[in-house]
Point group: C2
Chain length 218, copies 2
DNA sequence: ATTACTACAAAACGAGTAT
DNA sequence: TATACTCGTTTTGTAGTAA
C-alpha cells in the first residue's frame, strides 16, 4: 500500500469517515493535506478504485465513508504504531530452549547473588537457569537489553575468584514471572539466560528445541 | 511531512531504531518497503537532512537511530491513529452554552418520558435541558449521532398530542454524568440538548456563551 | 458550487555504476 | 561487500478548464 493512499485514508477517517458517510469536498480534503483539489480528487478516485472508501456523490457535495477494507488497512497501520510505542518499554523475544554450559547455573547458586535476587526481584530463584537461543532476526533486541540499565546485581569476590556485576530485567513467559540475567560487561551471544522461582522446564512443560516467547520489561 | 518519509521513519522504528542504533542496510530497508536500494538510500539521506534520524556510518554497515525529532514526528502520527480508533466509540464535541426555545424542557417534563429515562439511563433527569451550540467545524459529529442508534425512548400520545420516539446517548461534561437527547426523526440543527440529574448550569457553573466540552459515548 | 479531465511540470524511482 | 551518484523512466502533482 503506497503511503500517500494511507495518508488520504487516515485523513478521511479523522474527519469522521470511519463512522459514517461524511461530507468532504475534494478541495477541503486537499487543504488539510496540503495538496491541490485536483490531487485530492484523484486520490479519492484511486481509493474508490481500490475499494477502500465508498462514496455517495450528490450534485452539490460528495460524502465519503471508509469500507471494511479501508478500516482494516488503517487498523494494520495502527497496529504497527502500537508495536513501536509499546516496544519502548517492553520487548517480546522469541527463541528456542537450549542447554547451556551450566555457567549461569553456577552463578545463580552463589549465595551473594541469591540474596540480591531475593531483595531486588522479589523472588528467590530456583537453582538453575533456562537458556533461550534467539533467532538471528531478533538478535538486535539483545543489543537493546545490553544497552539498557536493568536492575543491578553487584559483583563480589569469593574464594579468590571475581564475580562481576550482573543486571537483570523482569520478564514473563506465558504469564509465569521470571527475569533475564546478563553480565554487565556484555559478552555478545545469542543466548538469553532466564531465572524464576519455579523450575521453568517443568512449569512451562518445555524441553530443548521448543519455541518459546519471552516478554521483557525495560 | 511527506507520507513516504513517515513510512520510512516508521519502518526504521519498527526495526528497533526507536530504542537505539540498529544495523540496517539500505538494501534491507528497501526490501521491507518494496522499494529499491537506491531509493531507500535516498530516503535515509533525506531523513538525516531533516534531522529525524542519526547515523553511525561504518565501512561495513550503517546503523540508524531516530532522533528526538523523529520520535516526535512518529508520536504525532500515532496520536492521529489513537484519535481515529478512540473516536469509534467516543465523541468529544465542544460548543457554547445557549438558551433554547424551551422545547426540550417541555418534553423532558412529560411523565411518560421521565419514567423511561429513569429506567434506561439510571437517573431521574432534572427538569430542564442544557443546550449546546456546536461550531460549524464539528457539526459532522452531530451527523454521526443522528446516524447512530443510541438508547431508544419510546414515543406516546397524550392529550391528543403525539410525542415521537427519542434517543439518547450517555455523556459526560467535566466528569458530570449526563446524556444527550435527540428526536429519532432527525431535525438537523447545530444544537445538542443535554439532560442530567443535576442542574447543569449551577453544577458546572456555566452560563450562556461559555465554551464547554462534552464527551458522548456511542 | 461542485468533481474531474487533459496536458504539462515536478518529484520519485531505479538501472547502471563509481567509490 | 557497502553507500550513493547520474540520468533516463515512471509516477505523482497541478493549472486550466469542462461538465
Amino acid at each position: 500500500m503506497k503511503p500517500q493512499y494511507l495518508q488520504t485514508l487516515k485523513q478521511i477517517a479523522l474527519m469522521g469517515g470511519i463512522h459514517d458517510f461524511v461530507a468532504l469536498s475534494s478541495a477541503g480534503l486537499g487543504r488539510t493535506m496540503s495538496i491541490s483539489q485536483q490531487s485530492a480528487s484523484k486520490r479519492i478516485l484511486e481509493l474508490l478504485d481500490m475499494g477502500l472508501v465508498s462514496r455517495d456523490l450528490g450534485t452539490r457535495a460528495q460524502r465519503l465513508n471508509l469500507t471494511k477494507e479501508g478500516v482494516e488497512a488503517l487498523t494494520r497501520e495502527y497496529a504497527d504504531y502500537k508495536k513501536i510505542f509499546e516496544l519502548k518499554d517492553r520487548l517480546t523475544i522469541s527463541g528456542t530452549v537450549a542447554t547451556g554450559l551450566g555457567e549461569g547455573q553456577y552463578y545463580v547458586q552463589q549465595n551473594e547473588y541469591k540474596v540480591q535476587f531475593e531483595e531486588k526481584l522479589w523472588f528467590e530463584p530456583y537453582e538453575g537457569t533456562l537458556n533461550i537461543k534467539v533467532g538471528t532476526s531478533e538478535v538486535f533486541k539483545l543489543n537493546i537489553l545490553e544497552d539498557s540499565d536493568g536492575i543491578l546485581i553487584k559483583g563480589f569476590e569469593s574464594k579468590g575468584r571475581t564475580f562481576g556485576d550482573v543486571k537483570c530485567f523482569p520478564a514473563k513467559m506465558r504469564n509465569v514471572e521470571c527475569a533475564v540475567i546478563m553480565p554487565v560487561r556484555s559478552h555478545h551471544t545469542d543466548v538469553l539466560e532466564v531465572i524464576s522461582k519455579h523450575h521453568l522446564r517443568s512449569t512451562l512443560d518445555v524441553e530443548d528445541g521448543n519455541i518459546v516467547e519471552l516478554t521483557v520489561f525495560l
